[in-house]
Amino acid sequence: MSTDQNILVKLNDAGLQLNNKWLVKGVSLQVEKGEIVTLIGPNGSGKSTTAKIALGIYKKIDGSVEKYTNKVGYVPQKISIDWTLPLRVNDFMMLTESLNKDTIDEALSLTGVIHLKDKNLGDLSGGEFQRVLLARAISKKPDLLVLDEPVQGVDFTGEIALYELIKKISDELSCGILLISHDLHTVMSATDHVVCLNGHVCCSGSPMDVAKNNEYKALFGEQASQILSRYEHKHDHIHTDEGEIKKN
């Protein structure tokens, strides 16, 4: 199949057990080029764990991961950086790959933090740091972006702008994005494929498929489901291929 060449990462029945407790079990999903796959689910449902499995951070997993690219950009949900390190934003941008000045400046401008370039990383606010993290991940022009709640702590207007940016990046670089988000509005506006987790995959499909799913309603409540249908009403022009996993 021709689409197989577009697959960036594929999880086959993957799971992780820690101290005899399953963090997440039986997850199968794949991210293709130019596609945004979003993981949703309540706290502790294994979203971040699934992302880390896809990234190959965990070694002893059940099932298997097939990763077809090494050009990966990652924005972790939690990041503990030792502030005793003398590290400016500019140094941090080049952490995993040496980039030229223009590339760094461009990425920092896109996320609106170019003015912080020479600041010490420890002096940034939570939202500023989050923007730097996102800039670092996109500056490498990766094939696969894994974004674990990339806009946490970012102000409201910034949040919308950053989600628009993520969408734009996915189109321009035609990279695949694995996104974890709590914001159902955003999820439904930009996502091609939604995977709803609750320790296992409770349902998956296009945003509308998931919204109609009974398990999803049970997990998130009737209201969340209404958010989606209202959304469908307002913005149905975006989803021309209703029910299709891939967009055109």
Partner: protein, 267 residues
């Protein structure tokens, strides 16, 4: 030129400082001070082994320190003891075993003070070769693993996720630690090697705002410490190790004035 013992000591010390500068920064960043201490303590065992088997000291120390590092990694995996307890266990038991073995070696004249605190009279032309060639190799390898090692020091998961193989970099760095201890033992002495690694780097932290500048300041600090320390050692007939470390301490104290200024500016 190398006939004069003092010139030999100076050339050896400068060689050591070039390597401890960058390596010391990683020791501070990765919080490995006590790990370095443990390896250094185990070096005594390596030295006694070298004497018994009439083998090169640096190579013997390198082998024993690497073995101790491997044992430590295994113990960390297999026991529930905290890291510092394991480090203490290995440091003191290997030092004790080393001293017991020294007790048996009555047939060899043994300068235990020189071993513990360094002895500039003991540096031979062979030692110079080991320090400069070994040191150049250490720096070369450090340069090769710099990216993954530094990235995983900042954040392990980012480095792993973005394909840098931090575990391999960490293992190689452990070997580099054993190597620097092996080549600097005659100069600084096994009780003070960690001081040579961390004090110039700690001083550099006070002066720098980026990792690169910290490495440069740390190397300069190490070089100054060696030069000042060795001249003091010559002048006042003190052991070379303590003299170098005391000079490093003075530089560290001076660097504190610089921090005070920046803190004042912030307020």
């Amino acid at each position: 030129m190398f006939d004069d013992f003092f010139i030999r000591a100076l050339v050896a010390g400068i060689g050591v400082a070039f390597v401890t500068g960058p390596l010391g920064c990683f020791v501070i960043w990765r919080r490995l001070s006590y790990f370095g201490d443990t390896l250094a303590h185990s070096a005594l065992l390596g030295v006694t082994l070298a004497f018994t088997m009439e083998f090169n000291i640096a190579i013997s120390v390198f082998v024993i320190s690497s073995i101790i590092a491997l044992i430590l990694i295994q113990l960390q995996k297999k026991t529930n003891l905290p890291g510092d307890a394991l480090l203490g266990l290995l440091a003191h038991s290997s030092l004790a075993v080393g001293l017991v073995v020294v007790g048996f070696l009555t047939f060899i004249r043994f300068d235990i003070m020189g071993l513990l605190f360094g002895d500039i009279l003991a540096v031979s032309v062979d030692d110079l070769l080991i320090i400069w060639i070994g040191g150049a190799l250490i720096l070369l390898v450090l340069k090769l693993i710099w990216k993954p090692l530094f990235a995983s020091t900042v954040n392990y998961e980012l480095a792993e996720a973005e394909g840098l193989n931090p575990d391999r970099a960490k293992a190689i760095f452990t070997i580099l630690m054993a190597a620097i201890i092996a080549i600097s033992i005659k100069m600084v002495g096994l009780l003070l090697i960690t001081g040579m690694l961390i004090i110039p780097a700690a001083m550099a932290r006070n002066l720098s705002s980026s990792p690169q500048s910290m490495v440069i300041y740390s190397t300069i600090g190490g070089l100054l410490s060696v030069i000042i320390g060795l001249f003091t050692s010559l002048e006042f007939n003190t052991s070379s190790g303590p003299s170098i470390i005391t000079a490093a301490l003075l530089l560290f104290i001076l660097s504190l004035f610089k921090i005070k200024q920046t803190i004042k500016l912030k307020n």
